[in-house]
């Protein structure tokens, strides 16, 4: 590219607010004009280390309702940070509109440039354009909704006591991972509506309150015994994989405010659901974008050589991938894998070799990488992205291999595939599968309720490949579930051919949540 020189953006490590503004404008210029990104308006906030720790413990959100578990995370992070075992993230970015990025005040000017390019343009573009985020999250409404949630929880604590609110939230948090819809529903989530809905319902209840109704005798209860299983299940909307939703709607003994708490936890879980499915892509996108922007700034003279070295150092730290036998290894680093894949795609598009043409005929040699990448960023999640675009070259470079651990093979663990012609497809499929939440999260659904009998709730865990639930923890979650449901709960682990592999059952503890 021709270098259209620009003025040096800053000198030395110190920054001030005009410099931040200049950095942002320079990054924006490149991001929008050269990379063709499409972003929410940016809001950049400068915070201290302590505020960063605060943000950490509430999953990056600037406000959240109160719960001890956030304090626990804070204490953990703080201990690690104080001991110097771990540095803090340079930034946190929130999927909201305007897109808020938090920058640490300790960062040098170069780091601020990196962070602005990474968060305010990379992540921001991804949030705005990726189909999962479009489908599931409401960037405009999230902050208001969190504010409502915070107020609502505080209100409940005041009114019903901290202890019982805490128990309800504990139980709901335990089921959070099973409180999301995995398939898009009829309507888009609208968090503003949520708040209005709750308020109206309460007002309606207050307006129509009449104590006389309590004294009206009820007719003889209708017998439910004639209800067929099919009818009963369809009345309750079973089977239901969203356990929190089911409890909110059907748990017989919860107070209305407890249902609302479940709803809050569920909505927030749903909001975070896409993030778990796009770690590699999201970080890959952001890292690729900051890499491109910083390089352009350097080329055009906006960043000095020395500062660029500093950038390169942090950049290499971020994309470091230890091998499997390294003590630091803990799975694939999403930054490393994501960035490597983006660069790889760039190469396939601009300078393909024969292998690339064979594997990726539709993008190889397309010329300009940005339209291709933008299209990928918009329409894939980790699982589909990897199964589509992980190239043999990258598998060779990262020296990937696949282990197959089958307890039935007593000799040991088999090396199923390595980076050779026979292994590429298999490994790619396997790696993609490990990023599929439908595969990595246990598949549990509510299947039936014994309405005429003891009201026992029955759940099934569909076991794949003999992977049972971790027993101790499952028992504790089940306890939470039983406390919310108010009656006995039975969880069956169902293997192939409907064989019941294991059963867990649980009764609500003496101090039930519901009155």
């Amino acid at each position: 590219m021709t270098t259209d020189a620009m003025e040096r953006l800053y000198e030395g490590a110190d920054w001030d607010f005009p410099i931040l503004q200049r950095l942002h404008d320079a990054c924006e210029n490149i991001a929008l004009k050269e990379l063709g990104l499409d972003v929410y308006p940016n809001q950049i906030e400068v915070i201290t280390a302590e505020q960063m720790l605060d943000a950490y413990s509430s999953v990056g959100m600037p406000l959240y309702y109160r719960h001890w578990s956030f304090g626990k995370h804070f204490t953990q992070h703080e201990a690690l940070y104080r001991k110097g075992l771990r540095g803090l993230a340079y930034e946190i970015v929130i999927n909201s509109s305007p897109c808020t990025s938090y920058l640490m005040e300790e960062n040098t000017a170069t780091m601020q440039a990196l962070v602005i390019a990474h968060a305010a343009f990379g992540h921001n573009h991804f949030f705005k354009n990726n189909y999962l985020f479009k489908q599931w999250t409401d960037a405009e409404g999230i902050l208001e909704y969190l504010n409502f949630a915070k107020g609502y929880v505080a209100h409940c604590e005041e009114r019903y006591g901290e202890a019982v609110v805490e128990r309800t939230l504990d139980a709901a948090h335990g089921l959070m991972s099973h409180g999301v819809y995995r398939y898009p529903g009829k309507k888009k989530l609208d968090l503003r509506e949520e708040e209005k809905r709750e308020r109206e319902r309460r007002e309606h209840g207050e307006r129509n309150f009449n104590d006389l109704w309590r004294t009206v005798p009820l007719g003889p209860a209708k017998s439910l015994s004639e209800l067929s299983v099919e009818r009963r299940r369809s009345l309750l909307g079973l089977p239901q994989e969203n356990i929190l939703y089911f409890l909110e709607k059907s748990a017989p003994r919860l107070a209305p405010w407890q249902r609302e708490l479940l709803r809050i936890v569920r909505q927030i879980a749903q909001y975070f659901y896409p993030q778990g499915q796009t770690k590699v892509m999201n970080e890959g996108t952001a890292t690729y974008v900051h890499y491109r922007i910083m390089n352009r700034l350097h080329e055009r003279g906006g960043i000095s050589n020395g500062d660029f070295l500093e950038f390169l150092q942090s950049h290499t730290n971020v994309i470091f991938q230890p091998g499997f036998d390294d003590p630091r290894f803990s799975g694939f680093n999403p930054y490393a894998l994501g960035f490597a894949m983006m660069r790889d795609i760039e190469q396939i598009v601009t300078e393909p070799d024969d292998e690339d043409r064979h594997w990726f005929p539709e993008i190889a040699g397309a010329g300009d990488p940005m339209p291709v990448l933008r299209d990928i960023w918009a329409n894939y999640r980790d699982e589909s992205f990897i199964s589509q675009y992980l190239s043999p070259r990258l598998m060779r470079q990262m020296r990937m291999f696949q282990l197959h651990d089958d307890p039935a093979i007593t000799e040991g663990i088999k090396v199923e595939a390595i980076h050779n012609e026979r292994g590429y497809h298999r490994m790619r499929r396997e790696l993609a599968k490990s990023y599929d939440v439908g595969w990595s999260d246990p598949n549990i659904e509510v299947v039936d309720v014994d309405l005429v009998g003891d009201r026992r709730l029955i759940l099934h865990h569909h076991v794949v490949n003999g992977r049972l639930l971790a027993e101790g923890e499952a028992a504790r979650v089940l306890q939470h579930l039983a406390d919310l449901w108010g009656y006995d709960v039975l969880l069956r682990e169902i293997g192939p051919a409907d064989a019941v592999l294991k059963e867990h059952s649980c009764s609500p503890k003496g101090m039930a949540l519901a009155a």
């Binding site: 720790l53 509430s58 204490t75 000799e411 090396v415 390595i418 490994m427 971790a470 504790r476």
Partner: protein, 427 residues
């Protein structure tokens, strides 16, 4: 776009959450530690160990897969594996080491291991020497130094070599400094090269490389990092604890055992909690002597009983070594309560006139045989009677009686429980 400065916003947004967590965690663990310490021998206490806390504790359970089953994993960094190789499983079994190993008993409680430090910390958490630092805070002293990251300037002895070399290596790679091997290779080629043109080209190439190597130094001042240290100042109070133990013939083995356990606990408590507490061990029969801790705890002695001898020894030591103006003075006495009749008045006088006025706190532990009753028993010992009347007179004495091992911990706790400011020491 908008830049906002949030630094001045009030921090501590998580204060409330933190407090909730601490409340939740601490009470649970502390309770568990107390529970555990009741059933333990004193030497075990010093070891720390396993405690179990109720499941409704501080974990956040989620549904997830446990170990077992067929699993496939793709990993980076293959070095020598070929397809079809079979790797023996290491002890724990492949990859999926489940975290909740003891899932069988995970029903109502989960266990975890505390180190000795953690155990004692929790065990001793709300104990303290009463009224410490009433006298005088010793001058601020530096408690040594602690590591505090890296700095770009510092004294040469503190150069962090690893860090420095890493920076240097990174810079050399980034700036493409020619490696010595590349140079050696070219020089080798030069030596082998016959024709003049080739030689000239090689020579100019070598000259360029050498110039580049000179321009890009091996280590540049900007690479250098220093280990940074910072001082941690801390105010300290000086205190001395006198341990007075009766080892006379009237003390049975059982009583001596109780007394020693008590002092052992006291010793652990003081050494663990207060770095600047000195401990003076005095044991007495009809004569008192100052001994070291080894002798105090382990060597046998026997004889008659004259309690005043111990007080006399203590008074002398205070006079010689611990001016009451500068020191917080404490005393803990353990005895079976017997004293020779002739000594009663002298003991009371010494205690009232010399010991109690300089003491912040005086704890008296009366040990009895296992078949005796508790404090309420009518058969009051002679010392108990003397001290009791003094306590009623408003002197800072605390008294307890123990007859079996199980009571040591609770009694010890009571004697050194942290008190509210307005609560009286004497109980």
């Amino acid at each position: 776009m908008q830049v906002l400065d949030r630094r001045l916003n009030p921090g501590g947004k998580n204060l409330e959450n933190r407090q909730r967590f601490l409340r939740r965690a601490k009470a649970i663990v502390q309770q568990a530690v107390r529970q555990a310490s009741k059933s333990r021998d004193i030497s075990d206490i010093l070891e720390g160990g396993e405690v179990s806390i109720p499941a409704r504790g501080v974990d956040e359970p989620r549904f997830h897969h446990g170990g077992g089953g067929i699993r496939d994993q793709v990993m980076p960094g293959n070095k020598k594996f070929a397809e079809g190789d079979v790797l023996p499983r290491s002890g724990g079994g492949g990859g999926g080491g489940s975290k909740d190993g003891g899932s069988g008993d995970g029903e109502d409680a989960f266990r975890f291991v505390l180190t000795r430090e953690e155990f004692l910390d929790l065990f001793l958490d709300d104990l303290e020497l009463p009224d410490l630092a009433k006298r005088r805070l010793a001058e601020v002293e530096h408690e040594g130094i602690r590591r505090a990251g890296y700095a770009v300037s510092g004294s040469p002895v503190n150069i962090a070599i690893g860090r420095t070399m890493r920076h240097a290596l990174g810079r050399r790679i980034a700036l493409r400094r020619p490696s010595p091997q590349a140079l050696a290779l070219l020089e080798g080629r030069l030596a082998d090269c016959g024709d003049a043109d080739g030689r000239a080209a090689l020579q100019s190439e070598i000259a360029a490389l050498e110039a580049r190597m000179r321009r890009i130094p091996y280590i540049d001042p900007i690479d250098i990092r220093y280990r940074r240290f910072e001082n941690v100042p801390k105010a300290v109070a000086q205190a001395v604890m006198f341990c007075l133990m009766d080892v006379s013939g009237s003390m049975s083995e059982h009583m001596k055992d109780l007394a020693k356990r008590f002092y052992m606990l006291l010793y652990v408590f003081l050494t663990k909690r207060y770095r600047h507490v000195e401990i003076v061990f005095i044991r007495h029969t009809d004569r008192a002597e100052e001994v070291d801790e080894q002798t105090f705890f382990h060597s046998p002695a026997t004889g008659g009983t004259v309690v005043s001898s111990a007080f006399e020894a203590m008074r002398r030591i205070v006079e010689e070594r611990y001016p009451p103006d500068d020191w917080n003075i404490y005393a803990a006495q353990a005895s079976d309560g017997d004293n020779s009749y002739s000594d009663g008045a002298l003991t009371a006088g010494l205690l009232r006139d010399h010991i109690l006025p300089v003491c912040q706190y005086f704890a008296y532990l009366e040990v009895g045989d296992a078949d005796e009753g508790g404090e309420s028993v009518a058969s009051r010992s002679s010392l108990w009677g003397v001290y009791d009347s003094m306590r009623d007179g408003g002197q800072p004495i605390a008294m307890r009686k123990v007859t079996n091992r199980g009571e040591i911990f609770p009694v010890f706790r009571e004697l050194f429980q942290r008190r509210q400011a307005n609560e009286k020491v004497a109980s």
